[in-house]
């Protein structure tokens, strides 16, 4: 009888385990273009098939609304279990007390895959790691090799070279360069890329006070205004798409851009041998080439043990080299690996578009190792960076110079004041 009861109990346990519902994880991400949604779904389908005890579903969102939507959803208990993020966005959710530190998990992943340190830095502060880096984006200088050859110029290394190249390329058929001057994130990114190459990458002093108003920043703004003068007249309203179109249509000799190669390939007719991607020139010869970089990561928004384990299983699976390349190539050329083994993964390099533009992508990956992001460069996070970033105050200062006609020194001094007010 006792044996029968034990067997019955065992049978019940086995059957209940067999029919246990899988752990469900919802993922919010902001990669909304159809091809990216489709690729992510393919990844999720493959993961869910190979892990019947876990079910991951995606809910694509927009960067435009997620800053308001995610906090509201989390406060109302309707938020996701994990969400893709960038460094600026992470503190918004962390301040709500919803984000879980993934320090131990990242340490384990690092020992297996070896993260590029620059991709971990913006998420490591306040005694925790607040996101697992997944993919990186870095800004590079784009040029056309044929136009450079025609004009007899080589790839610029310094600001002086750069200006001369833009002046040489400028003809009745082409603008020498196209850099944005809109009060928008793209301009924040391009001016910061120039600042970072002119010794002005730090926005804050060690004590947390702003150091925006300094001679290096003034020099960077002054130089940038010279580039704007050689750009098309509508750059005051440009975002990434307009710059890309200007370059692709051969109306701009050079641009600064994230490497969305698929657009160049499809809209520009695709001439891989003519696309040059280089590091952004430095102020003086011999300096290290820096650039702005956005390591995108994934945050864990639940403290449920089963979901945390499922999250770790999913992210570990995603970072395995045989899967990781396919994930990155949801947008070939734009999304760079954040791990050493990911950068060598067959699944990454075997994509037809990546094969076609291999040298350019290799350059972009190399440049991304010197990636910096304003407000996240000192290993500490100053909360006011969120307000400075949200109001595009770096770009607003560009407009003070290029639209209002202020001197770079006056504009930067006014910019520092505005930033201090925003920080209060």
């Amino acid at each position: 009888m006792k044996r029968f009861a034990s067997m019955t109990l065992a049978a019940v346990l086995i059957s209940s385990a067999a029919y246990a519902a899988p752990v469900e994880l919802t993922l919010w991400h902001m990669e909304q273009p159809p091809q990216r949604v489709q690729r992510i779904q393919e990844m999720l389908d493959a993961f869910n098939d190979s892990h019947p005890d876990i079910s991951v579903s995606q809910e694509p969102q927009s960067w435009g609304e997620v800053y308001a939507k995610a906090p509201a959803a989390l406060a109302a208990g309707a938020g996701p279990d994990m969400i893709f993020t960038i460094p600026d966005f992470t503190p918004v959710l962390k301040d709500l007390g919803k984000v879980q530190s993934v320090a131990d998990f990242v340490e384990k992943l690092d020992s297996e895959h070896h993260f590029i340190p620059a991709t971990l830095e913006p998420y490591t502060y306040d005694d925790g790691v607040w996101a697992v880096p997944l993919y990186n984006m870095s800004m590079n200088m784009w040029y056309r090799k044929s136009e450079f050859e025609k004009a007899g110029i080589s790839v610029p290394e310094t600001w002086d070279d750069w200006l001369k190249a833009a002046e040489t390329l400028a003809t009745s058929e082409m603008y020498g360069i196209g850099v944005p001057a809109n009060k928008q994130l793209y301009t924040d990114q391009t001016i910061y890329s120039v600042m970072a190459n002119g010794g002005a990458s730090e926005l804050y002093n060690e004590d947390g006070t702003l150091r925006f108003d300094n001679p290096e920043t003034v020099a960077a703004y002054d130089f940038y205004s010279k580039l704007v003068a050689l750009s098309p007249p509508d750059v005051n309203s440009w975002t990434w798409g307009e710059a890309e179109a200007c370059f692709t249509s051969k109306s701009c000799g050079m641009i600064m851009q994230f490497s969305v190669i698929s657009t160049y390939d499809t809209q520009g007719g695709g001439a891989p041998e003519d696309l040059g991607i280089a590091a952004i020139p430095t102020k003086n010869a011999g300096g290290e080439h820096n650039t702005i970089a956005y390591p995108n990561g994934v945050m864990l928004l639940t403290d449920d043990k089963a979901k945390t384990e499922a999250f770790e299983t999913f992210v570990s699976w995603l970072l395995e080299p045989e899967n990781y390349g396919k994930f990155l190539n949801m947008e070939p050329g734009l999304f760079m690996p954040v791990t050493e083994d990911g950068a060598k993964a067959e699944s990454f390099w075997s994509d037809p578009m990546v094969e076609k533009y291999k040298p350019q992508i290799e350059t972009a990956i190399a440049n991304s190792k010197n990636g910096k992001l304003f407000g996240f460069t000192s290993g500490r996070i100053f909360p006011s960076i969120a307000a400075i970033s949200a109001q595009n105050l770096l770009a607003a200062t560009v407009q003070d110079v290029t639209v209002s006609g202020d001197s770079a020194a006056d504009a930067v001094a006014a910019g520092q004041k505005t930033m201090e007010e925003a920080a209060e």
Partner: protein, 275 residues
């Protein structure tokens, strides 16, 4: 008085300039949506397409949930319009005809509600709708659209009620008709153009509403056209062909609806007024 030839020519030229001003953006969008990608972004754009392709439309319809977005928009806009009309007509008639304390004050407060910046209620509304269990549903958008279209609709309709000659209403009163009958049988046919105007206003407001639709809807299969469309375009890149094809398909239902159906709708309703 007969106009001189010079004045006629001047008027014709002014009219032509206005037509060009209004039509040109539409032409660029429509013709661009049929051009090859290289022609769309060419430095020297061509007024008449040198190429013809349907690839942007095919891509839009095959690779995105665009038809779902259009279907959702039609459902939301239609219900929002019908409910707005159903509420605005009796409300505006009450403000126009019935005497009750605080009528004028209340009427002015209603317009204040229209001027209220809707964005400030976005987050509280999200919490409230979550508690009601209607977050991520199309009815939540209908509620919001009706709430924001109703105040102005009441104001618009009240001014249409005011244009009806008093004698017509007095005749109905003499015949012993109660207010509900006067509204239904006498006033409604006479203010039909006003109802059509309010209907168009409510429909287009709902069709183009972005902020609430982007926050209150979480799932892709419940998105409306403006939100779904914004997602298709992406942030760091713009597929210009897809963008133009999307604009054409987003505007087309509204243009078709009001160019043809809207016209019949108005003429049908106003027949009663003529009689």
């Amino acid at each position: 008085m007969k106009r001189s030839l010079a004045v006629n020519i001047l008027l014709a030229l002014t009219l032509l300039a206005l037509v060009i001003l209004v039509a040109l953006p539409f032409w660029w969008v429509i013709s661009g949506s049929f051009k090859l990608p290289q022609d769309i972004i060419a430095r020297k754009p061509t007024f008449f397409p040198h190429s013809f392709t349907l690839q942007h439309y095919v891509k839009l319809l095959a690779n995105s949930a665009y038809t779902t977005y259009v279907g959702n928009s039609l459902i939301v806009a239609t219900f929002s319009t019908l409910i707005t009309l159903a509420l605005a007509v009796p409300a505006s008639f009450a403000f126009f005809r019935l005497k009750f304390p605080g009528r004028r004050t209340l009427f002015r407060i209603i317009l204040l509600a229209y001027a209220f910046p809707s964005i400030v209620v976005l987050i509280p509304l999200f919490g409230m709708f979550t508690k009601l269990g209607i977050i991520d549903t199309l009815p939540s958008l209908v509620i919001v659209n009706v709430a924001f279209a109703l105040p102005f609709s009441i104001w618009m309709l009240r001014s249409f009620f005011a244009t009806v000659p008093k004698e017509i209403e007095e005749a109905a009163v003499m015949d012993g008709a109660p207010p509900t009958v006067i509204l239904r049988r006498v006033m409604l046919p006479l203010i039909a153009p006003g109802m059509a105007s309010v209907g168009i206003f409510a429909f287009i407001s709902s069709w183009t509403e972005y902020v609430f639709a982007s926050v209150l809807i979480i799932s892709d299969d419940k998105r409306t056209v403006p939100v779904g469309f914004a997602g298709i375009i992406g942030q760091y890149q713009i597929d210009w062909g897809l963008l133009l094809a999307g604009v054409v398909l987003a505007v087309a239902p509204v243009v078709i609806l009001f160019a043809f159906i809207g016209r019949w709708f108005v003429s049908g309703l106003t027949e009663g007024a003529v009689k």
